[in-house]
Symmetry: C2
Subunit: 332 residues, 2 copies
């Protein structure tokens, strides 16, 4: 019997975001699929960086953003992901630890450099991501320790882990350990293109019971069931999944279980500066509420609140203390 | 006779800012002088970084911020400063070039790493800077090329250059070249503590005619003349300086020459997020106007506009296009 030390442990790509504003023409000229995440090699990374405007470097990574959000709500949180012992690896490690997250994976001394995502934010606030995975893709089952996975109520993993084969192995090992210890396994589908790459496998994880709690946005859900009809996709999801939270941008979010469907609205935002991290931070609020046995509605509203905070500024990590923000809004 | 290629060429420390929010207690605990800039060694840099919260990396450096601002107004701008060929050196070079600034100083292959300033932003928006100069302090007369200095209408330099001896040599060489070619030499006093370190020498530069155009804020001016009386300090400055622009935070700015005194108000700002770069960006607007022969009043208002933009967000480089902003406000 392992004692619970963390509310949530996350596994994902450890990435530093390089964020710049760009117009839509820039995306067209550089053949980027707006709103998506493309994996790029080092040569393309250099070409994009050279072409893009003045940038800022802010720690990112989908699951890492979520875990930083859980900690900002006051949750006990841990993260597993791999960086190199270089400047950006130091930046990633500093930022996640400074956010109050346990992060103990030693940095690699050799091999590819720490992962970067070159993020172009268009005037409408939409972000388009170009990710050089570098050291993040070296995550393997070796980084998964039973004592760590077993000590968290919820194991949270990103669909992006499905891209490198060894990260997939890490994913499956961690899920197995979590279930052996009666923990909850959560997955975010990450990106509609990612779903397109691994649809059959993701459906297998959901239907087969590897995943207890699923996070998806509308586009990912439609991609999962290859339909343009949201309601039809949701019906299929209710049949396949034990429990899921689906975000719908300005339409709010829907939480589904076998028993009930709960819809919550978005929190109003004055100006959408940058949508990067909206889904990640929704998951943060929801996971915190879920781990603390709050109602589905309150959990989803915490998610909506955190998403609203993160899209109001550049960067995918919260700038305000989310526990304070939740108290101000009467949610905690 | 060298043809004009640039409105302004700046010389300063090439620094990447590492910016985090902190409360006033943090400054007290770590013995930092609120609102100032302290030079630190690598060991203290590591200790501060370890203690500070999640941060973001954004290119900075006082004169570099100013020059990026001049370019954002549509001015032709160049910068001289030194970095190492490391990740942050690449970040600095990318960001200033992407801002439209000519930056041709080759990065050092050996020696100390690229300069960082660890900036703590307190809830009132005030910033406290801890700067590890690293490769920036290797700037020397070798980096000053006559063909570059002579090709700019205005040579703009920061008082911080007075800290390393070899940068001081670079400063004096550049000023001499500029005057040989009938260009204008501008200096910002940088920081009240910096003025305290080099008061006699700065007064010598101003009285002796090395400096044609002086930028100072209220605290720096008071420090220069060792008085708590702003009006008395201003009188002394009118006697000593050919031409000066003095910023007074929320009280606006005053432009003085032998002939006249022109006061302009601040531009309203909803929330002061981070005062880093306020003075740098005031100088940017003023220099742009000055180089384009606009009135003192319009030049100062361009400065106030740029300062308002930069204090409304984290980071000391403009996020909006300043030429567009000036047009929207009827100034260009």
């Amino acid at each position: 019997m392992v004692n619970i030390r963390h509310d949530v442990i996350g596994i994902g790509n450890a990435i530093v975001d390089v964020i710049a504003r760009a117009d839509d023409d820039f995306l067209v000229r550089h053949q980027m699929a707006k709103g998506g995440m493309s994996l790029i090699d080092e040569a393309r990374a250099e070409a994009i960086y050279k072409a893009m405007g003045p940038a800022r470097e802010i720690s990112g990574g989908s699951a890492a953003n979520t875990i930083a959000g859980v900690a900002s709500f006051g949750g006990r949180a841990a993260f597993i992901g791999t960086v190199k012992n270089d400047v950006l690896g130091g930046v990633f490690a500093h930022d996640i630890r400074a956010a109050g997250v346990s992060f103990d994976v030693p940095a690699f001394e050799t091999g590819p450099s720490t992962a970067r995502s070159y993020i172009l934010v268009t005037p409408d606030g939409e972000r388009t991501m170009n990710t050089y995975l570098g050291a993040a893709q070296l995550l393997s089952a070796a980084e998964i320790k039973e004592s760590e996975i077993a000590a968290a109520k919820i194991l949270y993993m990103e669909g992006y882990l499905w891209d490198p084969q060894n990260a997939k192995d890490a994913f499956l090992k961690a899920a197995k350990i979590a279930h052996q210890h009666d923990r909850i396994v959560a997955l975010t589908l990450s990106d509609a293109f990612c779903v397109d790459r691994y649809r059959r496998e993701f459906l297998g994880l959901i239907k087969g019971g590897t995943v207890d709690l699923l996070f998806a946005n509308e586009a990912e859900l439609k991609s999962l069931y290859e339909t343009g009809d949201f309601d039809a996709a949701l019906l299929e999801l209710r049949r396949d999944a034990k429990f899921a939270a689906v975000t719908r941008s300005e339409k709010g979010a829907v939480v589904i279980s076998k028993e009930e469907v709960t819809a919550v609205p978005v929190f109003p935002v004055e100006t959408v500066a940058d949508t990067t991290g909206a889904g990640d931070l929704f998951a943060a609020g929801f996971l915190y509420g879920f781990a603390r046995d709050l109602s589905h509605e309150t959990s989803a509203r915490l998610g909506a609140l955190a998403a609203a905070e993160v899209i109001s500024h550049l960067g995918a990590r919260p700038e305000k203390n989310l526990a304070d923000l939740a108290k101000e809004n009467g949610l905690l």
